[in-house]
Structures are given as structure tokens and as C-alpha cells.
């Protein structure tokens, strides 16, 4: 079974369900060094994406495009814009394709990641959502079905979060205060790990992922 529009729609629905309970936790993670809006922003953005009708799209490209447009009109925040841009990149890459194979995911995400780097101006290793995506690119390289992909994604996103927790943030204002970020989760990486967890939950039998 490969990825189609209805699967994308279902995934975004699971994310939208999860983000409600994550809202205040993500706000508070962002408030430590940023402006405290990551959770409320994502709740709105993912909510809007879930309403975008992606499940009924004509093909995966269209589904990704719907998510991108919904996200872009819901926010202009850094993370939200990067996420919307990621879906736009997926839509462009999958133009004309009814489905995407699980084994394609890593390659698609690698190009997404390039776009995010170009758009946002940050680098790998800065302790941002980029590092989570990078971990996903690596982890998904050898998967061939949904269950494998789900497990790999959950493990790697969580892993990246843990690995970077005690490193300093090098991005934006936080860089100037890099040391203050040691020991704190980056809100974008935290969001990524939690949402991947929620989205992948239904795709895998492995329930006990360490958090």
C-alpha cells in the first residue's frame, strides 16, 4: 500500500486531533526563548489544513497543495511558513502522481529540506525543525512499507529531539543567548516529534516508543 490523498487527509486529521492537546505545552516551550506562540499557531494551522479537503484531492500533488495553501493563509510565522513551504515542495515534486511509495519519502523530504534551508536561512545543526527533518530523511531512506516508515519516523524524530536537547540553539535571537537554550527542547523539534508520533501512531504496531 502506498500513500494516496485519502491517507494524507487521514494523517492530517490525526495531527489536528493531537495538536489541540499539545497547544499549551508547545506555547510554553516556545516562551522559554521565543515568543510563546508555536502551539497556538500550530493548532490553528494544522486545524486549517485538516479542513482543506486534502482527503478528497484528485491526487497526492493536489492533496499536498491543499495543505500548503491552507497553511499559508493561516499564518506567516516562521515554523508555519516552513511547513506550508514543505507541502508546497511535496506538491510540486509529486505533480501528476496519484500515489507515492513509502520508499520515495526520504528522497522527497531531502528536497523539502533543501527548500527549507534556502527559505529560512538556517543551517543543519542549528537546533531547529530542520534537524528533525534531516533525521527523518536519514531514517526513511530504507523503508519499504507504512509500518516501517512509521516506526522509523517516530524513533528518529524523538531521537533528534533528545540528541539536541543539551546542545545550544544557534538560530535567530537564541544564538546570541545560545547557552540559555541548553537543556531546553526547541519548540519546532518538539512539535515535530509529537506530531510524527500522533500521525504515525496508526501506521505501526510498535506502541512503546521511548519519549
Amino acid at each position: 500500500m502506498s500513500i494516496d490523498a485519502s491517507r494524507i487527509g487521514a494523517a492530517i486529521g490525526r495531527a489536528a486531533g493531537a495538536v489541540q492537546t499539545l497547544e499549551q505545552e508547545l506555547n510554553q516551550a516556545d516562551a522559554k526563548l521565543g515568543d510563546g506562540d508555536t502551539g497556538s499557531m500550530l493548532a490553528r494551522v494544522v486545524g486549517a489544513m485538516a479542513q482543506s479537503g486534502a482527503a478528497d484531492a484528485t491526487d497526492v500533488s493536489d492533496a499536498f497543495g491543499k495543505l500548503a495553501r491552507a497553511g499559508m493563509s493561516a499564518t506567516g510565522s516562521s515554523l508555519g511558513t516552513l511547513i506550508s513551504g514543505a507541502f508546497l515542495s511535496l506538491s510540486k515534486q509529486t505533480k501528476g502522481r496519484a500515489t507515492v511509495d513509502w520508499s520515495d519519502l526520504s528522497r522527497l523530504l531531502a528536497i523539502v529540506l533543501d527548500g527549507m534551508i534556502a527559505r529560512g536561512g538556517a543551517s543543519l545543526g542549528d537546533k531547529t525543525v530542520l534537524d528533525s527533518v534531516h533525521a527523518l530523511v536519514l531514517a526513511l531512506a530504507d523503508v519499504s512499507d507504512g509500518a516501517q516508515a512509521a516506526t522509523a519516523a517516530r524513533v528518529s524524530a524523538n531521537d533528534a529531539l533528545h540528541r539536541y536537547r543539551d546542545l545550544p540553539c544557534r538560530m535567530g535571537r537564541a544564538k546570541f543567548f545560545g547557552d540559555k537554550s541548553v537543556g531546553l527542547d526547541d519548540p519546532g523539534m518538539l512539535a515535530c516529534a509529537k506530531l510524527v508520533d500522533a500521525v504515525a501512531g496508526a501506521e505501526t504496531e510498535f506502541a512503546n516508543i521511548t519519549t
Binding site: E23, Q24, N27, Q28, A31, L33, G34, D35, G36, D37, G39, S40, M41, A43, R44, M72, S73, A74, T75, G76, S77, S78, L79, G80, T81, L82, G85, R119, G120, G121, G172, R173, K175, F176, F177, K180
Partner: protein, 332 residues
């Protein structure tokens, strides 16, 4: 932390309705109503200035739409950059045939969206330039201007670029002036108490009952130190000292000063601070021109103040004195 609001989901739109109803020189435009523009746009042939940013900083950004200032403003959600559609619309609506300067604060989301908007508008043939406000000295070292965020000092860039545009300068010249004004502006903020996002359950940071934070960002981002409350004069002295330790290369003997309240700080306190700031600047041999004291750039109900110094030469001084008119700042 109590707020006089309705559903947080409607916070921005209700406030924008209030803004345009209270100040008829402003009007909402754009498909989602997230552009504020001049009710009576400038006549064609003027370089347009589009700004934009997250919400919760009134009068910034939308309040500075007016004659001799900026033409349009894209409005994001609270502390979120404006979305790409509103940036596109703000640029289009600012265009009077001679190109548009995008002039806004240096924040990731804002930059990405204005950049994307520019790319999307390439086909329409609107010449665009960009200048980013980077006046907050606490968000990056003097060697890292690109890391510095735009805070209260942005309004000096509005004023200078707006005056240049109004006088008929072309896009390159307006852009040069905006960049020059940004380079001549330094700001530092001090925080006493946080604000709370309408949708958040808690204030975005906690300061002890007798604590303050020097160098705080306009959203409450951590500053340089956090310590016990000190007398106003000591705080003013430190702000002046830090700003003067970071002089722009061409700083002369005249400055304008913006003693700005972050939202919940009474006018009385801003005046007490200003009196000391003035004495210290005079002591340093500087002359103050056209000082501003009040709530010009806020963070909703954040308590605290920021001090901006705008280093003048003859050109910037003349642009600062040129007539301008918006709901929150009128010159001449």
C-alpha cells in the same frame, strides 16, 4: 492576567475593525482584510512603502500607515508574521508605479513571507526592494547586524523613508534612506512584567515580583541580565550607556530619542526615565532633536520600556522634520 477581549480567534480582526472605525484615515483591504492601507492612497508616481508584521504591537505596525510614513501594512496573527497573501496584497496596494520598498522588522516568518510575495509578484513587474529593521542591540552583537531584530526604532526608518518617498525620490533613493535610518538606530528594552497571548493559558514569561530583565525582546525573549528592580535613573543610565557603547560609524552630535512604553507602563514613568536619559545624553555631548515619549511600539500589556536613539546627520534630521500624519504620530 486579565484581558478585555472576546474569542481569542477573533482578536486580531476585531481590533483591526476597531482601528479602522476609530481612525478613518485607515481602511482594511485584501481578501482576508489583513492589509491596512491609507483610505486616500498617495497619488500615483510616488514610491510605495509596504510594511507588515505580527499583531500585538500597536501602534506598530499598522498604525503608521499614513501620509509621509508607510502606505500599506500586512497584518499577521499575534506575534506571527503576515501571511504571504497579505504581503502580496500589501505590496500591490502600495505600488504607485515607481516600485515598492518592503520595510519591516527582521524576523524569520516576516522575511520568508515578504520574500515569497516578492517572488510571486515578479511577473507583475513591480520593482521591489527590502530593508529590514535591526535596531535591537540585545539580539545580536555589533558584528552580527543580520541577527538583530527590529523593534521600536523601526518607526524612525518609516519616518525617514516615508519623507523621502513623499518628496518624490525614486526607489533606490528611498531604499538608501531606509537602510541609512536603520543603520543609525539603536534600541534596548527593559521588561518588568510579561504579556499573555490571547490564546495562551499563561504569560509568556515569569519575572519575580521584584525582578526586571534588561535587554528583553519585544515578545519577551530573554535579555542580557535579569535581576532585582533598580531605581529608574540607574536603569536609564544603563540603557544609555549600552546604546552609546554601540555607536553607528557615522554618529554625529545630534540624536532623536524614543522613550517608548511597552504597553502597561504609565506615562509618568516614561517621563521620569526620559528626564534622566536626556541628562545623560546631554552629558555625553549629544543634542536631542524631536524626542518622542509614549506608547509607540508595544507588546500588548507588557510592562517595561524601550529606549531608541536615532543618530542624525543633516539629511536624516531634515527627513525627521518633514510633515507626516498618521493616527499615532503627526509631524508639522
Amino acid at each position: 492576567m486579565k484581558k478585555l477581549i472576546n474569542d481569542p480567534a477573533h482578536y486580531v480582526d476585531e481590533a483591526l475593525d476597531g482601528l479602522t472605525l476609530a481612525f478613518p484615515s485607515l481602511v482594511r483591504d485584501g481578501a482576508a482584510g489583513r492589509v491596512i492601507r491609507r483610505t486616500h492612497p498617495a497619488s500615483r508616481g510616488k514610491v510605495g512603502i509596504a510594511t507588515g508584521g505580527g499583531f500585538g504591537h500597536l501602534p506598530l505596525f499598522a498604525g503608521y500607515v499614513g501620509c509621509g510614513l508607510v502606505d500599506t501594512c500586512s497584518v499577521g496573527n499575534v506575534f506571527e508574521g503576515p501571511n504571504v497573501d497579505s504581503c502580496i496584497e500589501a505590496i500591490r496596494l502600495a505600488d504607485g508605479g515607481r516600485g515598492v520598498l518592503r520595510l519591516y522588522g527582521n524576523y524569520g516568518g516576516d522575511r520568508m513571507n515578504f520574500d515569497m510575495a516578492g517572488e510571486m509578484l515578479e511577473d507583475e513587474g513591480i520593482a521591489c526592494t527590502t530593508v529590514l529593521g535591526t535596531d535591537d542591540i540585545a539580539s545580536g552583537g555589533p558584528d552580527q547586524p543580520a541577527r538583530r531584530r527590529g523593534v521600536a526604532g523601526l518607526i524612525y526608518a518609516y519616518k525617514a523613508a516615508g519623507a523621502a518617498a513623499r518628496s518624490g525620490s525614486d526607489l533606490d533613493e528611498v531604499t538608501r534612506i531606509a537602510a541609512k535610518a536603520v543603520a543609525a538606530t539603536r534600541t534596548i528594552g527593559v521588561g518588568l512584567a510579561a504579556c499573555r497571548l490571547p490564546s495562551a493559558a499563561k504569560p509568556s514569561f515569569d519575572l519575580g515580583d521584584d525582578e526586571i530583565e534588561m535587554g528583553i525582546g519585544i515578545h519577551g525573549e530573554p535579555g542580557i541580565w535579569r535581576d532585582k528592580l533598580r531605581p529608574a535613573d540607574m536603569i536609564a543610565d544603563e540603557m544609555v550607556e549600552r546604546l552609546l557603547a554601540d555607536l553607528p560609524p557615522a554618529a554625529g552630535g545630534e540624536v532623536s530619542v524614543l522613550m517608548n512604553g511597552l504597553g502597561a507602563t504609565p506615562m509618568e514613568e516614561l517621563l521620569i526615565l526620559y528626564r534622566r536619559v536626556r541628562a545623560q545624553l546631554q552629558g555625553a555631548g549629544l543634542t536631542i532633536v524631536a524626542p518622542l515619549v509614549g506608547n509607540y511600539v508595544t507588546s500588548m500589556e507588557m510592562q517595561g520600556a524601550s529606549l531608541s536613539i536615532f543618530h542624525l546627520d543633516a539629511e536624516l534630521k531634515a527627513l525627521l522634520a518633514a510633515p507626516a500624519d498618521c493616527p499615532f504620530w503627526r509631524v508639522g
